[in-house]
């Protein structure tokens, strides 16, 4: 064996991970080569030093959030609502706050296109940008995660996202009309879907999806 070949085996040799035949071959070389013996000694001395690089523990809170996000990812929107209701008390929001948010959501959902003047300013601006008065609405827990999921879904269906803005909530996309229904079913896995009967396409046929939290 050459020194070059020994170099590639030293790590396993130092950790007793070589099979007998290879170990014996390395032993023969080491007896005759001072440089490789020195390299082995250095490697053996260094391995315990490298173990000083410990990582912090993932906090219980972070582990809980991770498990929760996976649970959410795996369940439908109605299950997510149920999970919110049954969250441990430390995650429960004050009843009044929940009620106010729920009322606001009901109010927004029920607003018709002709009521635009009553919608919040930012929403009105976004609506103007969508080139349709009645976009598909997708309610997600996190806009960025929802955007990522949507991008994946669109790619999966051979569609194209024509324009979107990272910090914004409007996505225009095109998709094969034959696969549209399947695509809508996929949207339901990402968030709560509100699809109007008509008017959700721009003049050029682009589907317009508004992602809201």
């Amino acid at each position: 064996m050459s020194c070059d070949e020994i170099e590639a085996l030293l790590y396993d040799y130092a950790r007793n991970q070589l099979d007998e035949a290879r170990r014996a071959a390395v032993d023969v070389h080491l007896k005759a080569c001072r440089q490789c013996s020195e390299n082995l000694r250095l490697m053996q001395e260094t391995l315990p030093v490298l173990d000083s690089w410990q990582t912090p523990r993932l906090s219980n809170g972070a582990a809980d959030r991770l498990a929760q996000s996976v649970r959410n990812r795996n369940s439908g929107w109605w299950q997510r609502v149920l999970q919110c209701i049954t969250l441990p008390s430390r995650f429960m929001l004050p009843v009044q706050a929940v009620a106010v948010v729920a009322l606001a959501l009901v109010f927004i959902v029920n607003i018709q296109p002709e009521d635009k003047a009553m919608v919040s300013r930012s929403f009105t601006i976004e609506m103007a940008d969508t080139e349709t008065s009645n976009p598909i609405r997708l309610k997600v827990q996190n806009v960025q995660a929802g955007m990522d999921d949507l991008k994946d879904l669109v790619e999966q269906y051979g569609g194209q996202i024509r324009r979107h803005r990272n910090a914004a909530i409007v996505v225009g996309l095109s998709i094969d009309p034959d696969r549209e229904q399947q695509f809508f079913d996929g949207l339901k896995n990402i968030g709560a879907l509100e699809k109007p009967a008509q008017g959700y396409q721009a003049e050029d046929g682009t589907l317009v999806v508004v992602i809201v939290e």
Partner: protein, 182 residues
């Protein structure tokens, strides 16, 4: 090396079958492991937590494409690696990270020396090419098998072995030059 045992594969198969409790146990079992890898790769606690979360969500979305269940761990790490690469690219890398020591910060001498040593190991590894650095992190620190790492990095098992051994020797030689080892 931490070889996957039948119980790990059985747990993953339960997850695939839609068992919610198994999914919870699986996430908690591998969360720390994946976080540790992301932390060593990004050296930043919050970013490592973000990368771990992102990795699990992506893993969950695509795990049904895994044809051989015993390869799930390599698949999970492959995704985690890509998430780390994305987060590293988009992050503001001038921001201080968790391993730096504040000027004037008072630490017990032993702890100070340990932090200095960890910072040194990190800095040395930063100079390695990405594949070699990952091979060392995955084999030495995460305890993955050469076969798993070869699949994660898309290189042959022989190349992984060689990259790890030569990389560790290079690391040892630099630490010797800096007086850390004799």
């Amino acid at each position: 090396m931490t070889e996957l045992v039948d119980a790990d594969v059985a747990l993953f198969e339960q997850v695939l079958a839609g068992d919610a409790d198994a999914a919870d146990r699986f996430t908690r079992k591998y969360a720390q492991e994946v976080f540790a890898y992301c932390y060593r790769r990004l050296c930043h606690r919050e970013r490592a937590e973000d990368a771990s979360q992102e990795a699990f969500l992506k893993f969950w979305k695509s795990m049904r494409t895994i044809r051989e269940p015993e390869k799930f761990r390599g698949f999970l790490y492959h995704i985690a690696r890509n998430c780390c690469i994305d987060i590293h690219r988009s992050a503001n890398n001038t921001e201080r990270d968790d391993n730096l020591i504040d000027a004037g910060q008072e630490l017990p001498s032993g702890l100070y020396a340990k932090k200095q040593l960890v910072a040194m190991i990190r800095t040395i590894l930063e100079e390695f090419d990405e594949t070699q650095k990952d091979a060392i992190l995955l084999v030495h620190y995460q305890g993955l098998s050469y076969r798993e790492v070869s699949e994660i990095l898309g290189i042959s098992i022989g190349t992984v072995k060689s990259k790890v051994s030569r990389g560790m020797l290079r690391l040892a030689q630099i630490l010797k030059k800096r007086g850390i080892v004799q």
